[in-house]
Symmetry: C2
Subunit: 271 residues, 2 copies
Amino acid sequence: MDNRPIGVFDSGLGGLTAVRELQRLLPGEDIIYFGDTGRVPYGGRSRDTIIRYARQDVAFLRTFDLKAIVIACGTVSTTALDVLAAENDIPVWGVVEPAAAAAAAATRNGRVGLIGTQATIRSGAYERCIAQAAPRTEVMAAACPLFVPLVENGRFRRGDVVVETVAGEYLAPFRAAGVDTLVLGCTHYPLLTEVIGHCMGPKVTLIDVGRQCADAVAGHLRDRDALGQPGRTGESRYYVSDSAEDFSRLASIFLRRNVEETVKQVEIWNY
Amino acid sequence: MDNRPIGVFDSGLGGLTAVRELQRLLPGEDIIYFGDTGRVPYGGRSRDTIIRYARQDVAFLRTFDLKAIVIACGTVSTTALDVLAAENDIPVWGVVEPAAAAAAAATRNGRVGLIGTQATIRSGAYERCIAQAAPRTEVMAAACPLFVPLVENGRFRRGDVVVETVAGEYLAPFRAAGVDTLVLGCTHYPLLTEVIGHCMGPKVTLIDVGRQCADAVAGHLRDRDALGQPGRTGESRYYVSDSAEDFSRLASIFLRRNVEETVKQVEIWNY
């Protein structure tokens, strides 16, 4: 039994899709969330800058006595997991490994697609991980740099010609290649599930990396008897590097609950 | 006569549209440019964060012996000019005043439109400035938060249904209101001149804030006999907070010249 909180971080808001899954699967766990809203988005930045920012995000989270850290960000998971895992004496979980295992298990024709930010695609992390899990699987990958700004501007619904046109362009090569499984390699993308699902058709399995990661973390903690005391009610606290008010407004879209009173601002550049 | 360089900064690449105008108008001037590519975009961030970042940007530029600073960023000009001007003993120029004067002079029906980032619109800076220059002018303003990511992803050309749809939505209220002058209040927007111009029609005057600002700076330096020695050839050096290589590639779109050898990376969080 371990009542210490789980630390979760993301470049901004997207990681809340993973928090929602963790809260659903593990209602007894305390969660400390950090969203780097003062420096979002990470996906178009260089590897060095992403590693520098991620180290500061983890340094802030480690001011709490945590039992594990979850990188609820596709860009950081693919670019900085090795560095962060080597530097920390508690488990550090990224979204790649669970999602790669899920994709390898889901594909029937051995053709898996991957969409993510520029940094995620550049890293090659999913390809390496899927090749280990299922060596004969072909992975086709493409960056979708406009998906994050579109989601953050509320343009993720079916019937919106802008997001449907952008999705159609990004996804056309995957349709042409006949992938039967598509990894949504960024924690913002679950909000686009209907748009992407409609574009790819009902026979393509979509892998939500935040959900897969939450599943894996839950299993890991359960296996090691590291969950909180049975019957306790977990609390979540949220920290951000830009205005707490602005975050609270948008967070409700991702979490479907009001978080206003539990959000505080952090000077992340001091960590 | 004053051979010291002019410092110019922006949240990222957009300010290069103003640099290009300065280089055209004042080929004998040295320019030090800083683009905060490690923290771009500023337009959706809070006032406090924008002021904090802008102070660091200026602190870096002031490690050079400058004769003036140009804020080639609509967001910083509207949100932090007062603070920066009060803290510095050399002239600090923003884009608002020259563009407001140009809009007040251009309008015939007294209806001026303004588009910019969320921070620019929230500031009310253009409204105050235009009200001083032409008290009877009505100003209608709207944020266009997707224009910057669209431009940075190369989607600024006519015939692209995505940018044309977004522009059509953002600009419909201005067409309905019958504005005859539209201030493009962000230094990224000149790349959208054809899309916006086609949407608004040929009778609407578009005000390029970077160009107006460069004109004003040139006039100001000339009037005060503060230009560099006649006949000298100015040099421009570029500094960024993320990868110099990534910047060099994109900068060519804005400057229409190769800058690869003159770009260096700066640790802006240390200033």
